[in-house]
């Protein structure tokens, strides 16, 4: 089978960086481009980080298109630093990238790539959905020609991680998520319900560092602040592999179980603003718009992630 061709829409971000690593470590995937957006930190920094991670992996030939700096309506989130560190990727000190983003705005880059090869490109948004929403509204054919979206976001039964009800990516731009969820594009959703079952422990990172590779050191440095955050707020020695789990849909789909549901996003501005809700009981009679992962063999995914990291080359 030819590799699945993907564009990752991302806000690196610690687990975003790990997703880029996993994509490049996986022969099942051909990473065509990265598009960047606000989210874990400012878009200037997420763009810098995207370029820096690609250079670290000797993959600077992969284009990066810079996207939106602000959510559609809600104010910009300012909570990323405690989770992802000031740099956006913990304590990893990657050198400033030599490459620069392409001239084209991420919205137009997504539209161009998708329309040029209808039904060929899968987009993996692992960040607030601002770029995707505006691509949909700017070019109506985008929704008809993109192959699929595999989104990290939302929480159906697992509670929120930024408010009691809402997951970060959706809460950071709920209106954009609303546009995307109702666009008619085939969507696979990877919510907190499954990502919180994929926990990379500090013991895992130690084991990875037994072979003392630049990749292993990067994973250790990148996850350091992230793990501190988990320890402080969730009482756990490790961190969840939220974003990397989206790639399991390609490299290890058997680890996931899916259900089709009608999923909506609360944009009404009350206490559940930005929460995602699934019509499990089919009371709305609305057709399913999302294929959502609700089961995962989490430990097996983490082992697969570690295995791929051991095979990956990077650094000097």
């Amino acid at each position: 089978m030819p590799p699945t061709r993907i564009i990752i829409d991302t806000d690196p971000g610690v687990d975003d960086a790990l997703t880029i690593l996993l994509a490049l470590a996986s022969p099942e995937i051909k990473l065509e481009a990265l598009t960047t957006v606000h989210g874990n930190t400012h878009v200037d920094i997420t763009t810098r980080n995207a370029l820096a991670v690609l250079e670290f992996l000797h993959a600077e030939n992969i284009p990066v298109a810079k996207g939106c700096s602000l959510p559609l309506l809600v104010p910009l989130h300012k909570s990323g630093d405690a989770v992802h560190g000031k740099s956006g990727i913990g304590n990893a000190n990657l050198p400033d990238p030599k490459a620069t983003p392409v001239e084209t705005h991420a919205i137009d880059y997504l539209i161009e790539r998708v329309l040029a090869e209808p039904n060929e490109i899968s987009i993996f948004p692992i960040a607030p959905l601002t770029n995707i929403a505006l691509a949909i509204r700017k070019e109506p054919r985008f929704a008809e020609t993109v192959k699929e979206l595999v989104i990290m976001g939302g929480s159906l039964r697992a509670g929120g991680n930024i408010t009691p009800a809402a997951e970060f990516n959706i809460h950071a731009d709920p209106h954009a998520a609303h546009i995307v969820f109702h666009s008619g594009i085939p969507i696979t959703l990877i919510p907190l319900d499954v990502t919180y079952k994929c926990l990379l422990t500090s013991a895992d990172v130690e084991r990875l560092n037994n072979n003392n590779s630049p990749i292993a050191r990067f994973v250790r440095d990148a996850t350091a602040v992230y793990m501190d955050f988990y320890k402080k707020y969730e009482g756990f020695n490790g961190c969840a592999l939220h974003d990397p789990l989206t790639l399991a849909t390609v490299i290890a789909p058997d680890l996931l179980t899916f259900e089709n549901h009608y999923v909506d996003v609360d944009i009404s501005g009350g206490i559940s603003m930005g929460s995602t809700l699934a019509d499990f009981m089919k009371v709305s009679k609305k057709p399913a718009n999302v294929k959502v992962a609700l089961g995962v063999r989490g430990r097996e995914f983490v082992e697969l992630f570690l295995e791929r990291m051991m095979s990956l080359r990077g650094g000097a």
């Binding site: 939106c68 602000l70 559609l72 919205i107 929403a133 505006l134 509204r137 700017k138 209106h175 501005g269």
Partner: protein, 315 residues
């Protein structure tokens, strides 16, 4: 030196009158038109914009097609107000010119960024294109000279829901983005436009000139007047959009207040409602200048004179 304006519009009967007023007014140079869903579909209003420019022998002015749908809400068009074609009973021949390839929102960005501080944006439809342009290129906020918006109802009742005016109701989320963007906005709400009624006598005055322009206005506004009579018990019709355009060069038509204005996006019965914080207990900085008083005859005389002059030049 004429003021350089770009018009974001959904023609639309009163939109058409705004285009004609712009062409008839030496104080402004109409550098281009971006189109937007609203009174009719984007495909239809784009065709209408091109056809009106051809009618007025101004087909050198470029037209850029914009967004098809509101950001978040479902589409809402208004055939009962503007007719199925958007132009009432007027039947304009199929335009020979085509829209430009560039998207309407990119045209706004390109114009504003290429001439910082020189371009006046006049937005008389739902604000989807403007909102998209702001989020794609935030620097247009600092670089646009002024923004004139037809929309909202501050103390006046709504014309689409009991609380909401049509343009802000069609895309309240876009209006929210634009209102809070920091752009220097002048708002023309229903509070002033409903004081300016284009009467049958005004139409008769224009019809004394035999011109395709006056014939078009008669056919378009006849439908519009029937709507106003049936739904709002108004004898004549309200021409919101040309009034907004007129304020770009004759500000003395209105009196203004600097106000803190917000848009309800909470999806309840007030969705799309625009309201001003007149008490402003929180001492927020006003985010726009709102036309709250008007000299209706001053506007109507200007409008009729200008259209007469344009009509005489085109036979």
């Amino acid at each position: 030196m004429p003021k350089h304006i770009i018009l974001d519009t959904d023609p639309g009967i009163d939109d058409s009158l705004a285009i004609l007023l712009a062409l008839a007014s030496p104080e402004v140079a109409l550098d281009g038109i971006s189109t937007i869903h609203g009174n009719a579909s984007t495909a239809q209003v784009t065709r209408n914009a091109l056809a009106i420019l051809e009618l007025a022998k101004a087909s050198h002015i470029p037209v850029y097609k914009g967004c098809d749908l509101p950001l978040v809400k479902e589409s809402l068009l208004s055939p009962e107000t503007h007719g199925d074609t958007g132009l009432g009973y007027a039947t304009l021949s199929e335009p020979l010119i085509k829209p430009q390839i560039k998207h309407g929102s990119d045209f706004l960005i390109e114009q504003i960024m290429s001439r910082p501080g020189e371009v006046t944006l006049v937005a008389i439809g739902p604000l989807t294109n403007v909102a998209l342009a702001i989020r794609k290129e935030p620097r247009i906020v600092q670089n646009v000279k002024e923004v004139f918006i037809m929309g909202g109802a501050i103390k006046h009742q709504g014309n689409t829901t009991p609380l909401a005016e049509f343009n802000t109701f069609v895309d309240p989320h876009a209006a929210h983005i634009v209102f809070h963007s920091g752009m220097p906005i002048t708002l023309t709400p229903l509070d002033v436009t409903y004081q300016c009624i284009f009467m049958k006598e005004d139409l008769e005055r224009l019809q004394r000139i035999d011109s395709p322009i006056t014939k078009f206005i008669a056919d378009a506004t006849r439908f519009y007047m029937e709507f106003h009579d049936e739904y709002q018990q108004i004898d004549g019709c309200v021409i919101n959009d040309p009034m907004t355009l007129a304020l770009t060069f004759m500000p003395e038509i209105c009196d203004y207040q600097n106000l803190v204005v917000d848009v309800d996006v909470s999806t309840g019965v007030g969705l799309g409602n625009t309201f001003a914080d007149f008490y402003n207990y929180e001492k927020k900085r006003p985010n726009m200048r709102v036309a709250m008083g008007v000299r209706p005859r001053m506007f109507m005389d200007l409008f009729l004179e200008r259209i007469e002059r344009l009509a005489k030049s085109i036979s």
